[in-house]
Symmetry: C2
Subunit: 445 residues, 2 copies
C-alpha cells in the first residue's frame, strides 16, 4: 500500500481524552476514531490488526475442534427471562423496544441464545459433545467508558459454548479451551497467565481468567517466576486435543498466580525470590457452570437409556478488540507501537527518503513492486515529507521492519534495514532485500 | 469435516413459516435458525457460505482501490440530525436510548458517520480521492420481516462511500463501483443487470440497482436479450480501474433493462423478440449524490487555491446476507441447493455408503485424509444412515460434487463421482480421485 493513497490520519499531538498509552497510540497512529463515548470506528490500519487478532483466535478455536457460527447482535428479552437474567443484568444491558413494542436487547453475551439454538437442534447424546463459537460485536452500556478499546461499550468478542453429556466431558471441554487460550495468546507474542477467578454474573463452579503481563497493565498480579521462563506455545504444541489434558491443566494451575484481589502475602506459598509482582490485563475468561442454563431453559438430550439429561455447559470469552489495545500496552516505546510479527498490520515499511529524485523514486517503486510480487505485505511511504516526519510516522505505526532507501545508499547499491523493536540498523545489498523478506513472511505457527 | 461431528441440524419437513424456496432450503439444510422475527443465527454451513460471499465482495472492493474500515453498529442520533435524516427515516430505524438518556440508533446505513470521519480526517484536496468500505451488520425494523435472509431486520451489508474533489472525479468513482459490482456478482455465477433506479431516501442524481435473474425472483424485470448472452466478467476483466471507464459504463447502460415500475411497453425501443421478461432480485444499489451530506455536515477540503470545497460523494451497497438467499433462488432444484463453486461451503461431499464395513470405512477414511492433505475442502458423511438418507442430505446441501464410496465399487477399485448440478455420474478409479479434485480446487478468478 502506498502511504500517499492510504487513509491513515496520523495525529501529531497526544489527544487530551486518552489516558492510557494504547488509547493514545491507536488514535495517533490513525487506527481508530471515536464516534460516541466508548464506540469506535476502525480505520484501515486498525482494522488490519483487528483481523489478524481475530484470525489467530479463529484458527486456535478451529484447531481445538470448535465450530464457528454467528449469532445476531439483537436478542429477544424473553430468552433472558427464561434464564432469569433479564432483570439481574442491570443498566449495563442495552435494552431496546422495537416498532411492535417487543422488548429486545443488544447482546452482552450469548448463553441464552446458544442454549435455545442447541435445545432445538440437538436431541440425542450421540450428537455430543459440541463446542460452538462466534466472533461478534457485543454491547455493554458501561457507566463510564474509557481507555479506548480496552473498555469500550461496543466491542468484539469471541465467545463459545460447550455442550456435554456429563461433568467429565464438560471438564475435558474446559481443558481444551484452557489449552487453546494459552496457545492463542502465545501466538500473539503475549505471556498469558491463567488465574483462578470469580464467576460473577455468568455463574458456575470453575473459572479462570487469563492475564497478560504488560508494564502499563490495569491491575497488579502475582505469579511464580517460572511463568516468565516458560514457552507455553512449545509446551502446548505437542498436545493432542483428544488426549487426557488433565495433567497439563493441573500442572499449569499448580504454579502460583493470583490477581491483587486473590493474593494474600501471608498465605502465599512461594519464597520471596520466586514471587514476581507485575501488571496484568485480563484478555480472556473461561467458565464451567454445569446445568445453570440448561435446566431452567429445558435444554436436554436423550441419554443412552432414553432418559432426559440436561446439558452440561461451559462458556469461554476472548476480548478481540480489547486485545488490540492490550497488545499495544505490552509492545510499545516512547516512539510508538512495536507490533509482534504475527499481528502486525504490514510486515514491512518501505521509506523512500527522496521521492522527488527520479533515481530514488524508480528504485523504490521497483522494490515495492518486487516485494508485493513476492507476497510481502509492505506499507510504502512515497510521500513528499521530510525524512524526520517519515521516520517518526513509521516508528509510530510500529511495523516490525523498515527498509530505508535514500540517494547515498542507492549510489552504493545498498538499503538500510531497521528492526523496529531493537532499533538495530544494517546495510543490505539492494538486490537481496526482496529475498530476505520473502523468506521471513508471516509464519503460521 | 466429518458429518458425524458437524453441527448441521437438517430438517426433514418444510418449515411452515417459510414462503420462498431459499428460506425453506436454508432452514432445511441447517444453514440458519431464526431467533426473533427477521433475525437469524448462522449455523456452521450457512456461515461458510456467508463468508465466501463476503470475501468475494471484499476482494473486488480491494481490487478497485477501495479501502476497508469498520464502523460500529450503534450511532449517535446527533449525526443524523446534522444531515436532517433523523426524523425522515421513520419507524424502520431502530432507535435506542442509553443509560445516560442519550439518543442512539442501530445504523441502517452510514452516510452520516462516514462523512463525520472524513470531515475530521481529510483536510486537503491532495488526500483525495478516497473510497472507504465496510462490511457490517445493519438493522432495519421492517414492519413485516419475511422471506428469511432476503428481507431480514438484522442483515449484513457491504457499504462504501467515495469522496472526490469534483463531479468528474465522483463520476469516475461511480463508474469504478459499477464495474466492481458487475465483477462481484459474475464471480458468484450470477447474472446481474444494472438498471436505472430511483434514489429514495439516500438522495441524489444518479443511481443504478443491480438485479440478478432467478426464476423465483421477487419482481419482474425486462431486458435486452444481449444481456443473457454476455460474459460480463470477461468484458470487465480487461479494464484498468485507472483508465477512462465511461465508454464501458455507457455501453452497458445503453442496453435496455428496466424494472417492472420503469418498463413501458409502448415506449420500449426493442423489437419483441429482442426483449426478455424475467424475474429479478435486487442485490446491489449505487448512488451518486454530490454534496447532499457534505454541505449540511460541513465536510470540506482546501482546494488547490486554498478555497473550501465541499466533498463530492457517492455511496454503494451490496446486501451480503441477502445474496446468500439470492444465490439459492438462482441455484436450486427439487432436491435442494446447487452451489456455484466459488461460494460453495465445501468443494466436495464424500459419502461412505457402508461405514459399518471395515474395508469401506478404512478406504473412505483414507480418501478423506488424502483429500484434506491435498487442500480439498470436503464434507465427509461418515454417519450410520441409510444410503437414501445420505443421498438426500448431500443433494439438499448442494455441494458441487459428490464422491460415493460403497463395497461394490471398492471391490472394483472405483468410486462414483456425481456432479450435483447436472446429476451426471461417472466411475473414477479410486486412486485418481484425489488428484482430480486437488486439481480443480476453487480458483480465484
Amino acid at each position: 500500500m502506498r502511504l500517499s493513497q492510504y487513509f491513515l490520519p496520523l495525529l501529531r499531538e497526544n489527544p487530551a481524552e486518552a489516558q492510557i498509552v494504547s488509547h493514545r497510540l491507536m488514535l495517533r497512529a490513525g487506527m481508530i476514531r471515536q464516534s460516541s463515548a466508548g464506540i469506535y470506528s476502525w480505520l484501515p490500519l486498525g482494522l488490519r490488526v483487528l483481523k489478524r487478532v481475530e484470525q489467530i483466535v479463529r484458527e486456535e478455536q478451529d484447531r481445538s475442534g470448535a465450530q464457528e457460527i454467528l449469532m445476531p447482535t439483537i436478542q429477544p428479552a424473553e430468552l433472558w427471562r427464561e434464564s432469569g437474567r433479564y432483570e439481574d443484568y442491570g443498566k449495563e444491558m442495552l435494552r431496546i423496544t422495537d416498532r411492535h413494542d417487543r422488548e429486545m436487547l443488544y447482546g452482552p453475551t450469548n448463553e441464552e441464545l446458544i442454549t435455545a439454538i442447541v435445545r432445538d437442534a440437538i436431541k440425542s447424546y450421540r450428537d455430543l459433545p459440541k463446542n460452538l463459537y462466534h466472533i461478534q460485536w457485543k454491547f455493554r452500556d458501561e457507566v463510564r467508558p474509557r481507555f479506548g478499546v480496552m473498555r469500550g461499550r461496543e466491542f468484539l468478542m469471541k465467545d463459545n459454548y460447550s455442550f456435554d453429556l456429563d461433568p467429565q466431558g464438560a471438564k475435558h471441554s474446559y481443558n481444551k479451551m484452557f489449552v487453546a487460550y494459552l496457545r492463542t495468546f502465545a501466538r500473539m507474542g503475549l505471556k498469558a497467565i491463567p488465574m483462578r477467578a470469580d464467576t460473577g454474573p455468568i455463574g458456575g463452579d470453575l473459572s479462570h481468567e487469563f492475564q497478560i503481563l504488560a508494564e502499563t497493565g490495569e491491575s497488579e498480579v502475582f505469579c511464580d517466576r517460572l511463568w516468565l521462563a516458560t514457552d507455553i506455545l512449545a509446551e502446548a504444541e505437542e498436545l493432542n486435543y483428544d488426549s487426557d489434558l488433565e495433567p497439563f491443566f493441573r500442572h499449569w494451575t499448580s504454579l502460583y498466580a493470583a490477581t491483587d484481589e486473590m493474593h494474600r502475602p501471608e498465605t502465599c506459598p512461594l519464597p520471596p525470590d520466586q514471587l514476581v509482582s507485575a501488571r496484568g490485563i485480563e484478555v480472556g475468561h473461561i467458565f464451567y457452570f454445569g446445568t445453570k442454563y440448561s435446566v431452567p431453559m429445558g435444554a436436554v438430550v436423550a441419554g443412552a437409556g432414553g432418559e432426559e439429561v440436561p446439558l452440561e455447559m461451559g462458556s469461554y470469552g476472548i476480548g478481540v478488540s480489547r486485545l488490540v489495545g492490550a497488545l499495544i500496552e505490552a509492545n510499545h516505546d516512547d516512539a510508538g507501537i512495536i507490533w509482534p510479527e504475527t499481528v502486525a498490520p504490514f510486515r514491512l515499511g518501505l521509506i523512500n527518503l527522496r521521492p522527488s529524485d527520479k533515481a530514488c523514486r524508480n528504485a523504490a517503486d521497483e522494490l515495492y513492486a518486487k516485494l508485493r510480487g513476492a507476497g510481502v505485505e509492505v506499507l510504502y511511504d512515497d510521500r513528499e515529507e521530510s525524512p524526520g516526519a517519515k521516520f517518526a510516522a513509521m516508528d509510530l505505526i510500529g511495523l516490525p521492519d523498515q527498509l530505508i532507501l535514500g540517494p547515498r545508499g542507492l549510489a552504493a547499491g545498498t538499503i538500510e534495514w531497521k528492526r523496529r523493536r531493537t532499533g538495530a540498523r544494517h546495510e543490505l545489498p539492494l538486490e537481496t532485500a526482496v529475498a530476505k523478506f520473502a523468506a521471513t513472511q508471516r509464519e503460521a505457527r
